[in-house]
Amino acid sequence: MARALVTVPATAKRGEIIEIRALIGHAMETGYRPGPDGKILARDIIRSFSCRYNGEQVFAAELHPAISANPYIAFFTVAAESGTLEFKWEGDNGFTQTETARIAVT
């Protein structure tokens, strides 16, 4: 399993705009690079990222080979209610990773 770091404010006021950050360790091998033996290395990238806030999708992204290794994604959402944010990365070779974070909205 890869290591991922998600940053969500622990508390927020209702209606407040909050910044969410998600960083994950992944090689993002493009599929265009030759390896040490001169043969092209097979593509191995994360292809999608999504964030669900209490089950509702609030952000999603498609990732492509030009995105760097260890992709960092930051975005904003509105703090609506207390609950859980679920982050999901999916990619080549059956790669899938889920992280969750809790937020308390007052």
Partner: protein, 249 residues
């Protein structure tokens, strides 16, 4: 006469000022922000792995924490004191070699390859504990001798381009080499996450990188020549704040 004395005093004051600048000084604002903010710094992925390795048992069932306890206490300032003289192998070694040695002799575990993810992870985690502390190379004749040998390497022209480290990093820092600004070459942020590598790397990887840039013969990882150079760079950066684990372009 009085003006002359005042001017002389001013020159002396200027000469006494610290003109040393960390590599971070020469980076773009976004790269600086990436290093400053742990939630953006990709090196923190390695730090997380390192923290897990610190408490994991290896070999004969011993973990780093088993002997050294809490790294945030016991490893404080340790990375700032490397390279150091190792009484066991009777030579000056760097932090990565120290970790590798501890792993082999104390944990009785199979060694990690230089630049392996595990070694860099543990090195990053240990180095993080010295962040903000001054680079403090240890005294002692052995480290002094290593630094003196390293200094000779630093000023030695090498490779097909026939350049020494000093020609770029002492004489032309702040100017450009192709699109990049030449920094002063202070090694106070290692191991670093280098955007060009899209990966974490040790100081030795960076040194070999520069050597391959001037088309010189590359010493293998762990070569005494590289450790000596590290010892000189530590002496040269003495007192500068540690930034480990840093981000560099």
């Amino acid at each position: 006469m009085k003006t002359l004395i005042a001017m002389l005093a001013m020159t002396a004051a200027l000469a006494g000022g610290d003109e040393r600048k960390s590599g971070a000084h020469f980076m773009g604002a976004s790269t600086q922000a990436m290093q400053r903010d742990d939630t953006q710094n990709p090196a923190m992925l390695w730090v997380g792995d390192g923290a897990a390795l610190w408490t994991a048992t290896a070999g004969q069932g011993k973990s780093c924490a088993g002997c050294h306890g809490d790294a945030t206490v016991s490893m404080k300032g340790v990375a700032a004191r490397y390279p150091s003289f190792d009484t066991h192998s009777k030579r000056v070694i760097n932090l990565g070699q120290r970790i590798a040695q501890c792993r082999q002799t104390r944990q009785d575990a199979p060694p990690w390859k230089p630049e392996s993810r595990e070694l860099l992870a543990l090195e990053s985690y240990v180095a993080l504990q010295s962040r903000g502390m001054p680079v403090a190379p240890p005294g002692g004749p052995e480290v002094g001798l290593a630094a003196a040998r390293g200094k000779a390497v630093y000023f030695q022209r090498m490779g097909q381009l026939n350049l020494s480290c000093a020609q770029c990093h002492d004489e032309h820092w702040g100017k450009r080499l192709a699109g990049s600004t030449i920094p002063q070459g202070h090694a106070s942020a290692y191991p670093i996450y280098r955007l060009e590598w899209q990966d974490m790397g040790s100081l030795q990887r960076r040194l070999r990188n520069c050597m391959s840039g001037v088309r010189a013969e590359l010493p293998p990882y762990g070569a005494q020549e590289l450790v000596d150079l590290e010892a000189y760079l530590a002496a040269r950066a003495k007192g500068m704040a540690m930034e480990s684990p840093g981000v560099r372009p």
